[in-house]
């Protein structure tokens, strides 16, 4: 019994130390003013992280929007309320699925890529050699990726939402025969700019911060071996997913608390 407690204690301290290191790295990366050449570094990272994730986001968005519209329509038509498909779809997407699914897909595609890249740089001593040349790898490698993630994810979530809503519209209106007018007007009546779009964006920004932070840190802190890279990449995806889902629960409670 005492052995179990001791192991748990050691584990907890390990995690705390990790968190501490991660926070220091985060602070050191975003501190300090950007310099002239930094913009091109940032742009390249926005390309790697954002532009290259577009395809998966758009495809997933369309499918998810279509599927949800389908399911909602089926259930709502039992109450004769098919006209509410538009508003149900929009609310679910804007408040929950848009930010969350985008974050999960992002962690899987962009997050793991960032972790692998940084981890590989660490194991081939590129980070060390940069340091020896007087260049701070936190500034040159980590910071552009942190900022790029923060910029890209909300953009991707917004695109996801729009594509999903149109995907849902295609299914509901073109295929299932719901009325286009009530699809949109029902949606417009129920969706509020701040409550739904605004708070969804906030969620997305928070997720962006967390996922990118995890991705960058796991790479930076990894063991400089072949297994180390694989382990770090897996950890990024798993940890990001768990944290995003847990955070989503808390944020939803906090933002939309009045459930009674």
């Amino acid at each position: 019994m005492t052995r179990l407690l001791r192991n748990l204690g050691v584990l907890a301290l390990e995690r705390l130390a990790s968190l501490g290191r991660a926070s220091i790295i985060w602070a050191q990366s975003v501190w300090g003013l950007p310099r002239a050449g930094d913009l091109s570094l940032l742009i390249r990272q926005i390309y790697n992280i954002g532009v290259l994730s577009l395809i998966i986001i758009v495809l997933s968005g369309f499918s998810i929007g279509a599927v949800i519209a389908l399911q909602f329509y089926t259930q709502l038509s039992r109450f004769g309320a098919e006209d509410a498909v538009g508003l149900g779809l929009a609310l679910v997407l804007l408040r929950e699925l848009g930010p969350v699914v985008t974050a999960l897909l992002f962690a899987g595609r962009a997050g793991s890529a960032v972790t692998a890249e940084i981890s590989l740089m660490k194991s081939t001593e590129q980070l060390s050699s940069m340091e020896m040349m007087g260049v701070d790898p936190l500034h040159r490698i980590v910071a552009p990726r942190l900022w790029a993630g923060l910029i890209c994810m909300p953009i991707l979530a917004t695109i996801f939402n729009v594509v999903a809503i149109y995907g849902g519209m295609v299914v509901a209106v073109e295929w299932l025969g719901s009325d286009a007018g009530s699809f949109w007007s029902g949606m417009q009546d129920a969706v509020e700019l701040w409550e739904d779009v605004g708070k969804g964006m906030i969620k997305s920004v928070i997720f962006a911060l967390v996922v990118t932070w995890i991705a960058v840190f796991q790479g930076y802190d990894s063991e400089p071996t072949a297994e180390g890279i694989g382990l770090a990449t897996t950890r990024t995806v798993v940890l990001s997913s768990v944290v995003v889902l847990a955070l989503d629960f808390l944020l939803t409670l906090g933002m939309y608390g009045d459930f009674k």
């Binding site: 390249r44 532009v51 953009i155 729009v162």
Partner: protein, 152 residues
């Protein structure tokens, strides 16, 4: 990858994001861009606005003519004060227009229904609608019914 191509695609990416945001704002949440000119606020006091939410519709003869802008409470008299933003398009309403809190369907959302009056004088911005009827709360109705049945 040539830097030029990268830069262009990043620009397109960001632009797509902004466009998507605009779509969300205008098409999905229905925020009208020509908000201000001509819309005016009108107030009404109710004894019970149970279930009425901000941005609920204000309609007359089944046509949406405005939105509930704000719901406040007057603690002195224990009344709810509802501020309604009426669209400029409907012109002026008679000063004896009535306001009722109605329900969409049987269990649906609450909204404010306006019943036009006949007076020549019209409601100005900031005026109070006199003739009001609060929401029909199901529990009160049932309680009412039980009392009546009991009495007979």
């Amino acid at each position: 990858m040539h830097m030029r191509t990268v830069e262009i695609s990043v620009g397109v990416f960001v632009l797509a994001g902004i466009l998507a945001l605009v779509v969300l704002v205008v098409r999905v949440s229905g925020v009208s861009l020509s908000r201000d000119e001509g819309n005016y606020l009108v107030y009404a006091q109710f004894d019970d606005v149970a279930g009425l939410r901000k941005r609920a519709k204000v309609s007359m003869a089944g046509v949406t003519v405005g939105r509930v802008a704000d719901i406040a409470v007057d603690t002195e008299y224990g009344l709810a004060v509802v501020a309604m933003e009426l669209n400029s398009g409907i012109g002026a309403l008679p000063i004896d227009t009535g306001a009722r809190i109605l329900t969409e369907g049987i269990l649906g959302a609450r909204y404010v229904g306006l019943i036009p009056g006949a007076d020549e004088e019209t409601l100005q911005a900031g005026d109070y609608i006199e003739d009001t009827q609060g929401a029909l709360v199901l529990e009160n109705l049932i309680g009412d019914l039980v009392t009546r049945l009991g009495a007979s």
